[in-house]
């Protein structure tokens, strides 16, 4: 072991020299090899966010195709086979390839910055996670392009998705895509938990963690507890289809509703996996644009945790018409309604913050206001569908379609768009356009409400979901045509958003380190941050480390500059524990992801893939973890 001399420490080093040395050790080399082997959380996070938004655009195109087909009764633009693939793809894509990954991607980029560390925990796992996500997304979309896209709904109920009724490999592709995205989501969840637990800046005790970080911590635990259920479910489905197990075959002791229990035990927490990060984003934006901390920090944290716990007690409300015992259903009505209390608390705390603060109506804040208007409607219709008798009339109708778009688009996409406007200068070093931002907000807000509000009425008028057409004598054609036109407004808003994002990334006005006057640590470093995030780890002395007229940032010194080193701290008080090495760039996560991809796709076709396909995975994992004799291996 080398005893490191003082010349390798940052303690007495001049700023320019320190930056030069840190850049040398932390930068991602240029070129294809560098891009493929980087483990920088900012590069991977940006890549993740971009990919997720590409999937959003593709999913949006699908919804426009559906609106085209539904604009008039008995239209023949798209046949039932393709339409079923399209709506399955839309749901699957938006849930598994957009909503969950984009929220986790924001965390990959922001959480290490917000807790004041230099890279995410397990950065190579992070790289692996991205490749798995990309491979899963490509698998699904390529399957769709070649007319083998899943056509069983994003929920893939057996027996329709089972061996007898789901011909071909369509349902297997869906189930295996689940495996890809769940592996990547679980990996990120572990990284976030460990980053938040062990890598917080000195002094960032539990009561000084930013709300966004809290929300991502709770979300990560939800991912860890909920996603195994869908892995169990999708694996059983593939086994049923490939090797003839009988999990879902009632004639041999299996059960059709077992699928629904497993799916919704994951599926309901999934909603909160998407929504809770948005709570964090809203809190960050509200605090910055009302010029005061969010009211009721403790209440907000408690509400996050309560929502996370309650999320596991609601799944049966997706099965109210499946014929379960009445008593059980009543319990789930009560628990489903109860979750409105923590959600209400959060809304009231934001309202109180706005009341007491001094609102600045910049684009990110506009999206938060839009979120409040829309999400409250979604929450209230959620209370309605929690009631068993109410649900028997609206379950699987356009009322529910309206409800969850109000919750997911209103509750998650609006905050996300606000968050993109808010953190874009940090991501790219450039501002997005404030003028276009207002137009975009206006178009999306108006387009969204005009598109989705009428769907409540359609549902009550008896229009079921997942139909590729309807008959002319049904009284739905007028509203459907109206909705289809409104969807064009919504799409125009998103198109303008993409244009603004691309334009701003290339030629937006340059951003300072802290353009909004925010108070969390990610704004303490330059925009965009250097590869090492912070030249010296910041030290936190309050909930808002950058509040007031801060001129000097308290920092810690003593880290080495000749290896990738960061600080680990204790879980509760965040007092420094060790100077830990952070792994350097590596191509092995990519090889491991390719080997895993090979095995997972092969196993759709043959059970032996699990045996033979594991060999390359084992080899790549050994290559990944085998020490290379670099300084980061030292201790």
């Amino acid at each position: 072991m080398t005893r490191d001399g003082d010349e390798f420490r940052d303690s007495s080093m001049g700023t320019a020299e320190l930056h030069r040395r840190l850049a040398a050790i932390w930068s991602t080399p240029s070129g294809l090899w560098g891009a493929l082997s980087t483990v920088d959380h900012k590069i991977i996070g940006r890549r993740y966010i971009t990919t997720a938004f590409v999937f959003l655009a593709l999913g949006g195109l699908l919804s426009m195709l559906m609106r085209l087909q539904l604009a008039q009764p008995e239209a023949r633009f798209i046949g039932p086979d393709r339409y079923n693939q399209i709506f399955t793809m839309h749901g699957t894509n938006m849930m598994f390839l957009f909503a969950v990954p984009v929220m986790q991607a924001m965390a990959i980029y922001l959480v290490p910055l917000m807790v004041g560390t230099r890279n995410i925990a397990f950065p190579r796992l992070n790289a692996f996670s991205y490749w798995m996500y990309l491979a899963g997304g490509l698998l699904l979309w390529i399957a769709f392009v070649v007319d083998a896209g899943p056509d069983v709904g994003w929920f893939a109920y057996v027996p329709l998705s089972g061996p007898q009724y789901g011909a071909g490999k369509r349902a297997d592709i869906w189930a295996q895509m689940i495996t890809f995205t769940e592996v990547s989501a679980l990996a990120i969840a572990v990284e976030i938990v460990v980053t938040v637990f062990k890598q917080r800046a000195p002094g960032m005790s539990l009561d000084r963690i930013p709300l966004f970080v809290w929300s991502m911590l709770v979300t990560s635990f939800l991912v860890i507890m909920a996603m195994p259920a869908i892995m169990v479910a999708s694996t059983s489905l593939i086994l049923d289809r490939l090797v003839g197990t009988h999990f879902f075959n009632p004639a041999e002791g299996g059960d059709v509703l077992l699928w629904q229990h497993l799916f919704w035990f994951f599926g309901h927490p999934e909603v909160y996996i998407i929504f809770l990060p948005a709570v964090g984003m809203v809190s960050a934006i509200v605090a910055t644009f009302t010029r005061r901390p969010v009211f009721g920090y403790l209440g907000m944290v408690m509400a996050l945790i309560a929502t996370g716990v309650l999320a596991f007690g609601l799944w049966v409300h997706h099965m109210f018409v499946a014929g379960l015992p009445r008593l059980g259903e009543s319990f789930f009505t009560a628990s489903s309604m109860a979750i409105a209390v923590p959600a209400g608390l959060q809304i009231f705390c934001w309202l109180a913050t706005m009341w007491a603060g001094r609102p600045v109506f910049k684009t990110p804040f506009l999206f938060v206001v839009g979120f409040m208007v829309i999400f409250v409607i979604g929450g209230l219709t959620g209370v309605m569908v929690a009631s068993v008798p109410f649900d028997t009339q609206v379950h699987d109708t356009y009322f529910v379609v309206a409800h969850f778009h109000y919750v997911l688009v209103g509750g998650a996409v609006f905050p996300l768009l606000g968050a993109i406007y808010y953190w874009f200068p940090k991501f790219t070093g450039r501002m997005m356009s404030e003028v276009l931002g207002r137009w975009i907000f206006g178009l999306i807000f108006a387009g969204f409400n005009l598109t989705f509000f009428p769907m409540h009425i359609l549902g009550l008028q008896g229009m079921p979901r997942r139909i590729y057409t309807y008959q002319p004598e049904m009284p739905w054609s007028g509203l459907n045509l109206f909705i289809s036109f409104s969807a064009v407004i919504l799409a125009a808003g998103f198109l303008l958003f993409f244009i603004d994002a691309i334009r701003s990334a290339r030629s937006g006005s340059l951003a300072s380190a802290n353009p909004w006057g925010a108070t969390t640590l990610e704004w303490a470093t330059s925009s965009p941050p250097p590869p090492y995030n912070f030249a010296r780890p910041p030290v936190v002395e309050s909930l808002e480390p950058l509040s007031g007229d801060l001129e000097t940032l308290p920092v810690a010194s003593g880290l080495r500059v000749d290896r990738r080193e960061l600080l680990t701290s204790s879980v509760v008080h965040a007092s420094p524990e060790a100077r830990e090495a952070s792994p350097g760039d590596s191509i092995w996560p990519l090889w491991a992801a390719l080997a895993t991809t090979l095995m997972l796709i092969w196993s759709i076709f043959s059970p032996w893939a699990v045996v033979w396909g594991s060999v390359p995975i084992a080899i790549t994992l050994i290559g990944w973890f085998w020490p290379k004799g670099v300084p980061e291996d030292e201790a």
Partner: protein, 200 residues
Amino acid sequence: MKEKVSSFSNAAFALAGLLFLAVSGGILGWFRQPRELRLDPPVAADLDRFRLMPNGISGSPPESYFAIGKPYESDAYNLSQGKRLYAWFGCGSCHGDGRGGVGPSFLDGWWLYGPEMVSIVASIRDGRPHGMPSFRDRMTSEQIWQLAGYVQTIGSYTPQVAAPSRNDDEQTRPAENRGPAKILFDEGPVGVHPDQGPTP
């Protein structure tokens, strides 16, 4: 400098992505599964015009069958439709789950009239001696081809990826996609069923 690095690595990254897309696209394109829900009437009529050798064994399908890509042997949707027809038209009452009964077994590796599609289609359409009825007036020609394709997969010794999986019924033998003929053969000899009558 930093800007340049990131834009170059982004371009390289995009290139790699496109390459991956193309390769995977090629691989999956091979498994393309379009579903033809409505067969054009002229094509359906042409399916009936296959030629058979004088002894009723083997022959050649119509040209149009090749033109549409031999869907009844390789397409999962048609094979699964064939499996439903097997149940709906009561094939099981003589052939059981494929292991035979009053009629011959499909699983013993012995095709009385040969394993070719046209022979199976002819058996279903025109019937055969010793009790196999003609289904000419009970099924359309497309249905007969679907059923024939399915019957072929039951006895296949090399399981096809596109072959149907198990039904949601009681399990009597491994499903078609697992190669039941091979599994049962490995378990022990499957003799000629005594009731099935003399071979032609």
